[in-house]
């Protein structure tokens, strides 16, 4: 059973990785914590549901949800970050909390407070490899996380936009003096982060079985924890951090009791912040 639980943890963790990577992208470039990120993820899941219910095939629904979530993320940037750049540095953080409340309640108005289910059009295949059971959707999520991680990594390292993002992350004033359109960088970063959250939303909704407007709250917090454990601003770190937390949660539920789960996760969060704030893999963002 231990091996199976390990695999379960790996699968769960890969869903956390996707969310953590979106978080860390924004933090890395703008040194800002977007607490509405979890709710963007939730909205992505619901957008995917809406498109799927309209009969759009799953892959297109995924793409459209990705687009939609990216756009909502841009709205977060426009309302919570851009106007508050000159204000107290925690203004944007708090504004994203309020925006999150707004998103949750708007989602409740549109889709109701009770859980919604994805149409079971794609049968999820289960593979039995010896003593362990793996589901196809989990493999897809793991593969997608890896793919996105590599893609964003390459984007940041090799493309012009990536250079612009790195310059902005170093020093916004210098970057703009050097000709970088930092506002375009902000918009793009938020869009990418939101798009990732959207993908995460749709894929994990297929695993989650049901979604409510309130799933973003906890997912957001876990994403934050994964980000810290992996190292702020570090994409690889976020991915591994997510997987580690997934494994920890599953092991806790399997061998202890579900009640201790949050204490262990947040306890680790706290300890890392105090004793190892650079995370397991080092932070690439400047301290704010």
């Amino acid at each position: 059973m231990f091996l199976q639980q390990l695999i379960n943890g790996l699968m769960l963790g890969s869903t956390y990785s996707l969310i953590a990577m979106g978080y860390t992208l924004v933090l890395g470039v703008l040194q800002m914590l977007n607490i509405a990120h979890g709710d963007v993820f939730m909205f992505g899941a619901f957008l995917g549901l809406t498109f799927a219910l309209l009969g759009i095939p799953l892959y297109w629904a995924l793409l459209l949800a990705m687009l939609g979530a990216g756009i909502i993320s841009i709205l977060v940037e426009r309302f919570c970050f851009r106007p508050l750049r000159k204000a107290h540095f925690l203004g944007p953080l708090l504004s994203t909390i309020a925006f999150g409340i707004l998103l949750q309640n708007v989602a409740t108005q549109i889709w109701g407070s009770e859980p919604s289910r994805y149409p079971q059009t794609t049968e999820i295949a289960q593979f039995q490899l010896g003593p362990i059971l793996i589901s196809s959707i989990h493999i897809i999520i793991l593969a997608t996380s890896l793919f996105l991680m590599v893609a964003i990594d390459q984007l940041v390292k090799r493309t012009r936009m990536g250079r612009a993002m790195r310059a902005t992350s170093e020093n916004q004033t210098n970057a703009s003096l050097l000709g970088v359109d930092i506002f375009w960088v902000f918009t793009f970063t938020f869009f990418a982060s939101g798009a990732m959250a959207g993908v995460a939303g749709v894929l994990t909704a297929l695993v989650y079985l049901q979604i409510t407007p309130f799933i973003g709250i906890r997912q957001g917090l876990i994403g934050m924890v994964a980000m810290v454990i992996g190292g702020l601003g570090n994409l690889r770190g976020a991915m591994i951090g997510g997987i580690l937390i997934g494994i920890m949660e599953v092991m806790n539920d399997a061998y202890l009791t579900a009640g201790y789960r949050d204490m262990i996760v947040f306890g680790l969060f706290f300890l890392f912040l105090i004793f190892k704030p650079e995370g397991l893999f080092g932070t690439t963002s400047r301290e704010s």
Binding site: L84, L90, L102, V106, Q109, Y260, I274, E287
Partner: protein, 287 residues
């Protein structure tokens, strides 16, 4: 006074205390996103004392506040080394740890919650509010208050002038925790029942929003913020099921249009001068 108004004022008083608890810590430029945790400690401690040990109400709330402040002091020591986002996240983590702890802690009910505390009246709540306001008023006039300002505005200069920056920062945490603990005790004895969910992250976030939107520069800002945003959800009842969405939208808009908050030090000074002018003219008229 209508029972309804009484209720709104009671929760408003508790909100004012929570906002002040955030403000207290903010005076040293640290932002705590975990004051709901201190509130919980104060709530459970005082409730346990009155319900299970028969301790009278006021001492129990005081005890809750003291226990909470001790925890605050202990937490402040490691957390102190952190800056900015790291500090905020650490306090967030702390708040969540406390919440989960009480969800599991059977002697105070665990997931079943804790039933039985009662007796918080409006006079009691506002007694604490007035005491807190008086304390902050004294603080602004004292040398300690100026030291705190110095620590906030420029910690390096402050330490060269001989101010023990670390001690002040830890003390601020302890003070904030004390006030939040008192708020928790009053909350428990007003609501008749507490459970760990009552002390979640949103409660901490709301307390901070009160301060930021009311104005961070003076403690009156925290008070005004708490008052306005306690009344707002009630005043918006006519919105029916769009109420909470509008609430979020109002908060976001306020952050955009008035990010420095409603009250500023300049405003307080102006108000003060205006009052003084009235009294002066009244006095000269008598003569």
């Amino acid at each position: 006074m209508s029972v309804y108004l009484e209720g709104v004022l009671a929760l408003m008083g508790i909100n004012i205390l929570m906002a002040l608890s955030v403000y207290a810590i903010l005076t040293t430029d640290q932002l705590s996103l975990g004051n709901a945790g201190f509130m919980a400690i104060g709530a459970y401690t005082s409730a346990y004392l009155t319900v299970k040990s028969g301790v009278p109400l006021l001492p129990a709330i005081l005890a809750g506040a003291i226990v909470s402040s001790i925890v605050g002091l202990l937490v402040a020591i490691p957390v102190l080394r952190l800056k900015g986002i790291y500090l905020v996240m650490a306090t967030l983590g702390f708040g969540e740890i406390v919440r989960t702890f009480f969800m599991n802690f059977e002697p105070t009910g665990g997931a079943y919650g804790f039933r039985g505390p009662s007796g918080a009246t409006l006079p009691l709540i506002y007694g604490w509010v007035l005491a807190a306001l008086f304390f902050f008023w004294l603080l602004t006039r004292s040398r300690l208050g100026r030291s705190l300002d110095a620590v906030r505005d420029d910690p390096e200069v402050a330490s060269t002038v001989g101010l023990h920056v670390t001690l002040l920062k830890i003390g601020a945490f302890g003070l904030g925790a004390f006030i939040a603990g008192a708020a928790g005790g009053l909350y428990a004895h007003y609501m008749f029942y507490i459970e760990s969910n009552n002390f979640n992250f949103l409660v901490s976030a709301m307390a901070i929003l009160f301060v930021i939107l009311g104005g961070m520069e003076t403690f009156w800002g925290a008070v005004v913020g708490a008052i306005i945003f306690s009344i707002l959800p009630e005043a918006l009842r006519f919105m029916k099921d769009w109420r909470l969405s509008l609430y979020g939208a109002v908060l976001v808009s306020m952050m955009i249009f008035r990010p420095s908050g409603i009250l500023t030090r300049q405003m307080i000074r102006d108000l003060g001068e205006w009052f003084e002018r009235i009294f002066r003219s009244a006095r000269t008229e008598d003569a």
